[in-house]
């Protein structure tokens, strides 16, 4: 059906009537992508107005509308913004914190820490157990101030901001929160969520670049806290409400799309601008959420080991967002709306977008979590613009949730991981099986592709020894 060109062992291209689809994959991952709707979904995006570039990263898989692990860039003036290109969990991301304590000190208290984190960090499918409850005024403040709100209220220090994407706050021009999103956000600030959201403590197992690792605050055999969460119900509700408004608007304008989840509006349309503002408000909520969660988790750890210990925020990176960025495509500098759905930024040293970051001189840490039973990686970007400074965000699923439960039902995941030295707690056996390591691609392969395609280089490899699933 498609005209496929193998450019290198790690890059494929599919020609379309508009632009090429660029796919970062090896042979086996590319074969897998042809088995479901991923490529068809990417093809549909090439037919959208103002499309300038579409890429699938090495962790890509079928989503709805836009594939997960995709980067789609549209022209600022002629192009569109699509809530489906951002996803329902707006500004979902990963935070890594380096704990300045000897590994054996943490491991000696491992079970105490595990149960303390499990009982004190709100998680799972709950929506009324926030660490920080908000009234109408404060919730608006959070969505305007992001991580700054959390820090002003005692959850962290000012210098944390230099280690957060966008310094933990996106500028908001006007309040575009919907009524229901505001209500849902009141009781969920400082909560982990469910599904693939997690909190874990890893050991730095391998260092690939000592200098950069040291600059990032990562040291061999030291512990690193890793957490994955997003904008919770507030973000989900913004996506629901605006997708419906977009649909009504496009119906009245008689615009049609190959898939309703691709519904989009010209970026400069009034409703599109309102969505962009609201999505950025959700992004700020997510920044505050991870700031509070990370700070609270370190407090719980210190209480368990009965002494204060220093820690450093390594980085907080985002993987579901649309941003206005300038990039060069085919030698022409262009202003674009870049949708990253299950893809992260990868800015190299001295990049203009890092000018307020503590990592301006080296490039920011790229945090790529694997699964609860495998490894996670910290990378740094190569000096290349080929992917609009984007890269994969995780391992990427290979098994559906029910398929995972069916296939793995007789496995005692907790015992298996314990034998590998990993302590695990989750809300239910079912939710753990859904997220079992074998439900995902091999993270080493996904990272290997990104490295060999010259997008980034490995800095450190982390191995979990304590995992809490939402």
């Amino acid at each position: 059906m498609f005209e496929i060109q193998k450019v290198t062992d790690f890059l494929y291209k599919i020609k379309t009537s508009t632009i090429d689809i660029e796919i970062y994959a090896n042979e086996s991952i590319f074969k897998k992508l042809q088995e479901d709707e991923t490529l068809k979904q990417a093809f549909s995006i090439t037919q959208m107005p103002g499309i300038k570039k579409i890429m699938l990263m090495s962790d890509a898989h079928q989503g709805y509308g836009f594939p997960i692990g995709s980067v789609a860039a549209f022209d600022y003036e002629e192009g569109v913004i699509s809530p489906g290109g951002v996803g329902y969990d707006i500004n979902c991301g990963v935070r890594a914190i380096s704990i300045h304590a000897a590994l054996d000190e943490i491991q000696r208290h491992a079970e105490t820490i595990l149960y303390a984190l499990y009982s004190q960090i709100p998680k799972g499918a709950v929506s009324d157990k926030a660490i920080y409850y908000l009234n109408d005024k404060k919730i608006r403040q959070v969505t305007f101030e992001g991580a700054h709100f959390a820090i002003k209220n005692g959850f962290g220090e000012d210098h944390d901001l230099q280690a957060i994407e966008d310094n933990g706050r996106i500028e908001i021009a006007k309040d575009c929160l919907t009524k229901d999103a505001l209500q849902r956000g009141k009781t969920e600030l400082g909560s982990l969520g469910s599904g693939n959201h997690f909190l874990e403590i890893d050991k730095v197992e391998e260092i690939f670049d000592e200098q950069i690792a040291s600059d990032f605050g990562i040291f061999l055999h030291y512990p690193v806290l890793l957490l994955h969460s997003g904008s919770r119900g507030l973000g989900h509700q913004i996506a629901i409400d605006y997708l419906r408004l977009f649909k009504d608007s496009t119906n009245s304008k008689k615009l049609s799309f190959p898939n309703k989840e691709l519904t989009s509006l010209p970026f400069l349309d009034e409703l599109a601008q309102s969505y962009f503002q609201a999505a950025n408000q959700a992004a700020n909520y997510a920044f505050a959420n991870r700031q509070i969660l990370g700070f609270r988790a370190t407090e719980i750890i210190f209480n368990c080991i009965k002494k204060p210990i220093n820690y450093t925020l390594i980085y907080d990176i985002v993987h579901n967002i649309a941003k206005i960025e300038q990039h060069s495509i085919n030698g022409k500098n262009q202003k674009l709306i870049v949708h990253r759905k299950g893809a992260t930024r990868a800015f190299y040293a001295k990049h203009q977008y890092l000018k307020n970051s503590r990592y301006f001189n080296i490039g920011h840490p790229i945090l790529i979590p694997g699964t609860m039973g495998s490894s996670s990686y910290i990378l740094v970007a190569r000096d290349s613009d080929q992917t609009l400074n984007s890269i994969c965000h995780g391992a990427g699923r290979v098994l559906g949730r029910r398929q995972a439960i069916k296939t793995l039902k007789n496995q005692d995941l907790i015992t298996q991981l314990k034998q590998k030295g990993i302590l695990l707690l989750g809300e239910s056996k079912k939710s753990l099986l859904e997220e079992a390591p074998s439900a995902y691609k091999d993270i080493d392969t996904v990272i290997d592709i990104a490295e060999k395609a010259n997008l980034a280089k490995k800095v450190a490899k982390l191995k979990p020894f304590m995992v809490i699933k939402g």
Binding site: H61, Q62, Y64, G65, Q183, R184, N259, R402
Partner: protein, 135 residues
């Protein structure tokens, strides 16, 4: 009838029914079945009655209705325990739901019901409809 099936990394609710009224009702009950655990101490008491009107595209209307009941559940902790569906003169469907407080456990979290591939398919005298949930 309803069942949950895999949809890539998420799940989908597959519903079959004889008519649209029953299809809408089954979709709401099916979503609740996935969302909440059985509650042996369930005490049904009407806290509120809600009306929701589906107009225009039925498929999109069902998805919107599911998202309406989803946010009512997340914000007010109310679930519909009895649902009446009535066809309106304009060809739409009015959903009247008697809402009771939910005190049990959640089984699964649903971020949203999506519009992905939401097409009602008629096969002889049976209607089939699939809604993908972002979980």
């Amino acid at each position: 009838m309803h069942k949950i099936i895999d949809y890539s990394g998420d799940v989908a609710l597959h519903i079959t029914s004889k008519n649209i009224e029953s299809l809408i009702k089954e979709a709401i009950y099916g979503m609740l079945d996935y969302l909440v655990d059985e509650n042996k101490n369930l005490k049904i008491e009407t806290k509120k009655t809600l009306n929701y009107l589906i107009e225009g595209n039925i498929e999109d209307g069902i998805v919107d209705a599911l998202n309406f009941f989803l946010k009512t559940f997340y914000i007010e902790k109310l679930i519909p325990y009895r649902i009446y569906i009535k066809k309106t003169n304009s060809g739409g469907f009015n959903i009247k739901a008697f809402m009771s407080e939910f005190r049990g456990n959640l089984k699964n979290y649903i971020k949203a019901a999506t519009y992905c591939e939401n097409k009602i398919i008629q096969n002889n005298d049976t209607l089939a409809f699939t809604v993908v949930f972002d979980v």
